[in-house]
């Protein structure tokens, strides 16, 4: 790669012309701009969480974003590489991590979560684009396992449509919880982690991401569509299943993480559907609060296999691909996801 860097090469002083491989122009979209767009998309939900949970929410968000960025900065210093914090990816991880914890979580735990996310999940695997699991999800699961009580102690939202207390273990999905009205779920005026609450704000951000476009529809729609369908089949309310338990947050913002989802659109659809199936299995038959997080993590691990089974078919390579598929089938190989 050495011969390709730097791209823009100064010609010798006698000749001031620049020599550079084609193309000579490039789109204005950079990593920084993409991450900035994600932050913008998350802004409504951020505002909503502060409105609902007050200063505590703000503190958690600030701590999470701050420590994620700091950890990445320190890591770059330690490795003596150029700092990558300006690409904003650490800030996105920080915000997503904050969205995955309750506003009452002690701040030192937030810092621990940030460490797990940035250092252990992202940087140790080579940094941006090379991690195989979503940092914020691993952070969340780590915290849920290490501090189960703190992670399920929720503060009542400041705007409540029905009377509530600080209760332990009471997300709407927990078996003991009272059913919530759909309006409450939509607005997020119920207890839960920061970003699991207002589906409306999250969906608003999704529209923005689609328009820019930062993500394609395949994962979120595949994921949520599967959950809706399976809920219907299981005789549960699809809307209630969709709007509760961080599904919207997970489907739109975490399952779509570039480095940990399949490469092609077909693969993404398979990935989304897989997430949906596992989430429903956990919800309908299991007894876990972390259904969404676990299903995304599990599907993250399957990405290399999905990638292998869902390549794009090059124009002109149709016959060769069909040949390869036949050969694979003849080998009695793996079934399709």
């Amino acid at each position: 790669m050495a011969e390709q860097q730097p791209l823009e090469q100064e010609a010798p002083a006698t000749n001031p012309l620049v020599l550079r491989p084609a193309p000579q122009i490039s789109s204005a979209v950079t990593t920084h701009i993409i991450m900035r767009d994600v932050l913008v998309a998350l802004a409504p939900a951020t505002v909503m969480s502060v409105v609902l949970f007050g200063i505590n929410a703000l503190l958690v968000i600030a701590t999470s974003v701050g420590s994620c960025v700091l950890f990445e900065y320190l890591w770059c210093r330690l490795r003596k590489t150029e700092s990558t914090i300006s690409d904003l990816s650490a800030a996105v991880t920080g915000l997503l991590l904050a969205f995955n914890v309750p506003s009452t979580l002690p701040l030192y735990m937030v810092v621990i979560g940030a460490f797990v996310a940035i250092i252990m999940t992202k940087e140790l695997f080579g940094g941006l684009g090379r991690n195989f699991a979503n940092p914020a999800i691993v952070g969340r699961i780590f915290l849920a396992v290490a501090f189960p009580v703190a992670m399920t102690t929720f503060a009542p939202p400041s705007i409540a449509l029905s009377p509530v207390d600080v209760v332990s273990s009471a997300t709407p999905l927990a078996p003991t919880a009272e059913p919530l009205s759909l309006l409450e779920l939509l607005l997020g005026t119920h207890m839960g982690v920061l970003g699991e609450t207002s589906a409306l704000a999250l969906l608003l951000g999704f529209v923005f991401l689609l328009v820019r476009p930062v993500v394609t529809w395949h994962i979120p729609v595949g994921y949520m569509g599967t959950v809706a369908l399976l809920s219907l089949l299981a005789g549960k309310s699809p809307l209630e299943q969709l709007l509760s338990g961080g599904l919207v947050l997970g489907a739109i913002y975490m399952a779509t993480d570039y480095s940990t989802c399949p490469a092609t659109k077909r693969g993404k659809l398979v990935f989304g559907i897989g997430c949906g199936i596992i989430t429903c299995l956990i919800r309908f038959f299991g007894n876990l609060n972390e259904g969404v997080a676990f299903s995304i993590l599990f599907m993250n691990l399957l990405v290399p296999y999905i990638d292998q089974l869902t390549p794009n078919i090059p124009v002109g390579g149709e016959e060769i691909m069909a040949e390869r598929r036949r050969a694979r089938r003849a080998k009695g190989g793996e079934g399709h996801e």
């Binding site: 012309l17 020599l19 550079r20 084609a22 193309p23 122009i25 789109s27 490469a263 659109k265 124009v315």
Partner: protein, 448 residues
């Protein structure tokens, strides 16, 4: 098959391979072509085409006339080179391009008389074989940039060809040379097409034009109305609609199998200016000696569409167009597929379409950062390849993976590099990877 139809169907705008939006920057589109006077020097490289390089057919100090044969090769694939001016051969010297390739060039000092060679007369063409034979001596190559000898492209079994595609997409930003040809010389374009259809027996021809050129579409549609074989097909104004495999897929729904040619799936594709030159050659017998360039860029005081003599040096053209002294970047071709130049005394050759010069404000590509696996390169590759994987396979020198990824199908359009947010040198890798793969394939063939 059967997806090509006249009328309403041919006007259909939704296509399968959409491509991407790139700012067109075609400010010179409505500028009428200006002819550049005879330059001080003509430099004719002996390779201005795909195929075997020519051998100089003239000697030092020899006098040449306009249209006189200067370079020729006895080879299966080559294209003759003719003098665009009358004058004296000054020398035959080596020439070095910015991409490291060297060539031999005949340098001619024009005398300004422009006396035409006495042997120039309209060719006698009675059947398709004689058309191919005539074009062998026309110097006409693919003028959209490919430089593939026109006669050689036609020199195949045409019995299975059902569509004669004419490429007027001109999807590269900045460039308007094909557009000007369509606006200024629709007659020779149609003459060329009609002659080819008549002689070859190919039943129909579609002129494919991007829909950001409504005037050209209307004009050609109107002028071709009397010939039911010829129709205009509108393409979306997105990059790279002009790539041959993309046009073929979008217009006919077919795809060229790996390692094959367009003729294998019943189609031929010529650039619209090439067709026009064929029409002109059949009318006058004057071989290809001039071409139109779009001259643009922020260092150019007078952007224009300029007709130059083939072999005119870049420096003279820049001077003619009022280029600010000391441009930072000079590109021959368009910004997506063109090459940057380090020397300005190299000439413009037949298949060059544009000349761009930028000062300090020229297009600057941001620094390369880590790949974020965003899949943009994969989603937007018109051939549906996986550029990032080809890039990795190339860096690992993994020929088996390059083969599996079919790196040889790449059309080098540069879309992948353009859309990449981390600015990976993706086309470079596909190009180098393809070369590596081809070398390996040749070796394997040799062994067998």
């Amino acid at each position: 098959m059967g997806r090509i139809g006249g009328g309403a169907l041919a006007r259909r705008r939704s296509v399968e391979l959409r491509g991407i939006h790139i700012p067109h920057n075609k400010e010179t589109a409505e500028f009428e072509t200006v002819s550049m006077p005879v330059p001080k020097l003509i430099v004719l490289p002996m390779q201005q085409h795909v195929g075997a390089p020519c051998m100089p057919q003239v000697k030092r100090k020899q006098h040449v006339d306009v249209g006189q044969l200067v370079g020729h090769a006895d080879a299966r694939l080559t294209a003759d080179i003719f003098s665009p001016v009358s004058g004296t051969v000054k020398e035959i010297r080596a020439i070095h391009y910015s991409n490291g390739v060297s060539d031999e060039a005949v340098v001619i000092e024009p005398d300004g008389e422009q006396t035409v060679h006495p042997a120039i007369e309209p060719p006698e063409v009675t059947d398709f074989a004689s058309l191919v034979e005539a074009l062998k001596h026309s110097g006409i190559v693919g003028l959209g940039g490919a430089g593939f000898p026109a006669w050689a492209k036609m020199n195949t079994d045409l019995s299975s060809i059902d569509t004669w595609l004419v490429n007027g997409a001109e999807c590269e930003p900045y460039l308007s040379t094909d557009y000007r040809e369509m606006i200024e010389h629709p007659d020779t374009i149609l003459e060329g097409i009609k002659a080819c259809l008549d002689l070859s027996g190919v039943p129909k021809s579609l002129i494919c034009i991007e829909n950001n050129k409504p005037k050209a579409i209307e004009l050609l549609r109107e002028m071709a109305a009397d010939d039911p074989r010829i129709d205009v097909y509108e393409l979306p104004a997105r990059y790279p609609q002009g790539a041959s495999r993309v046009i073929l897929r979008n217009v006919t729904g077919r795809s060229v199998p790996r390692g094959g040619h367009l003729t294998d799936v019943g189609a031929l594709l010529f650039n619209v200016t090439t067709m026009s030159e064929i029409g002109r050659f059949l009318r006058t017998g004057m071989p290809l000696t001039k071409r139109r360039l779009t001259i643009m860029g922020d260092a150019i005081a007078n952007p224009m569409n300029l007709e130059v003599y083939v072999g005119t040096q870049i420096s003279e053209i820049l001077e003619f167009c009022g280029c600010a002294p000391g441009p930072r970047k000079v590109i021959v071709g368009g910004p997506m597929m063109g090459t940057t130049q380090v020397e300005l005394n190299v000439p413009i050759v037949r298949q060059n379409c544009g000349l761009l010069a930028f000062g300090v404000n020229g297009p600057v590509v941001p620094r390369q950062t880590a790949c974020i696996k965003c899949s943009r390169c994969i989603d937007h590759c018109p051939i549906r390849l996986s550029p990032i994987d080809i890039h990795k396979a190339y860096l690992a020198r993994d020929v088996a993976a390059l083969d599996r990824l079919m790196a040889d199908l790449c059309v080098e359009c540069g879309t992948c590099s353009y859309v990449c947010p981390s600015k990976q040198p993706l086309v470079q890798s596909t190009r180098l990877g393809r070369a590596m793969l081809r070398a390996e394939q040749r070796k394997a063939k040799g062994r067998r």
